[in-house]
């Protein structure tokens, strides 16, 4: 798998990193949809994302929609400032559930 992936609590955490652009967003998309297909709740860790373009954002939107259909949870965590500015441009910063960290999301369950 192109990006690090781990199980933490009830979630599959996928760690996007580097420049998530048209040259690698198809890989990100496949990995995200694969986890949802497998029935996992998914958190996308984005602290290491130095750049994300509209195709990377589109992969997140697809993941969000696929998770909804299966009533699974899909959220973003530790979003880097450059990724956040693209999410805001896309007016998606209020659409995705965004958490400070995986731990913060897990603590909310307790």
């Amino acid at each position: 798998m192109p990006y690090n992936q781990r199980q933490q609590g009830d979630f599959t955490v996928i760690e996007l990193n580097g420049e998530v652009d048209l040259s690698c967003s198809p890989d990100a998309r496949q990995q995200i949809l694969g986890a949802i297909e497998a029935g996992q709740n998914v958190l996308i860790e984005m602290s290491g994302v130095t750049y994300i373009d509209s195709s990377g954002i589109a992969s997140l939107v697809e993941g969000y929609q696929a998770a909804r259909k299966k009533t699974l949870e899909f959220g973003l965590v530790a979003v880097s400032s450059s990724a956040m500015s693209v999410l805001s441009l896309a007016r998606l910063d209020k659409v995705f559930p965004i958490h400070e960290s995986v731990e913060a999301r897990l603590a909310a369950n307790e």
């Binding site: 750049y51 939107v61 441009l89």
Partner: protein, 141 residues
């Protein structure tokens, strides 16, 4: 910095391949700083030019008929201007529009980013239907 009217800073030529976008971004960032943009504006310009190049790669050329992309960057005292050219079939200019932002669906963000970031955009066909151009400009002060 020279305040010459519309000097051309540099021109970059590259094939319509997604793997080249990282190089385009690095160049745009450096040139934006060179003409006096602050880091935040440089980041925005990188986003807009990257999306415009993606659109040429995906829509003007497509996977089946790759070709060359020319990026020229100009500046004058208060404005940075980008001119992109491709040599693909002339595109239907009416088809180029962003999605409704109310809708949450995967595509249709690129043109929205571009018009959000830039002050002016102009698109058209090259003479003799040799291809297409997109000009985008942004005040830097």
């Amino acid at each position: 910095m020279s305040a010459a009217l519309n000097q051309r800073v540099v021109e970059l030529r590259f094939p319509s391949q997604a793997d080249r976008l990282c190089i385009v971004r690095a160049l745009v960032k450096r040139v934006a700083e060179f003409v006096g943009c602050d880091a935040a504006l440089a980041e925005q310009l990188v986003i807009a030019v990257n999306e415009a190049c993606m659109n040429i790669i995906q829509h003007a050329y497509g996977d089946d008929s790759p070709g060359e992309i020319v990026l020229e960057i100009f500046n004058n005292a208060d404005t940075i201007r980008f001119r992109l050219q491709d040599f693909a079939a002339p595109v239907d200019l009416n088809k180029i529009k962003p999605r409704e932002l109310g809708e949450v669906r995967p595509g249709g963000l690129g043109t929205h980013f571009i018009s959000e970031i830039m002050d002016e955009c102009k698109m058209g066909h090259l003479e003799g239907n040799r291809g297409n151009y997109l000009e985008m400009s942004k005040r830097i002060i």
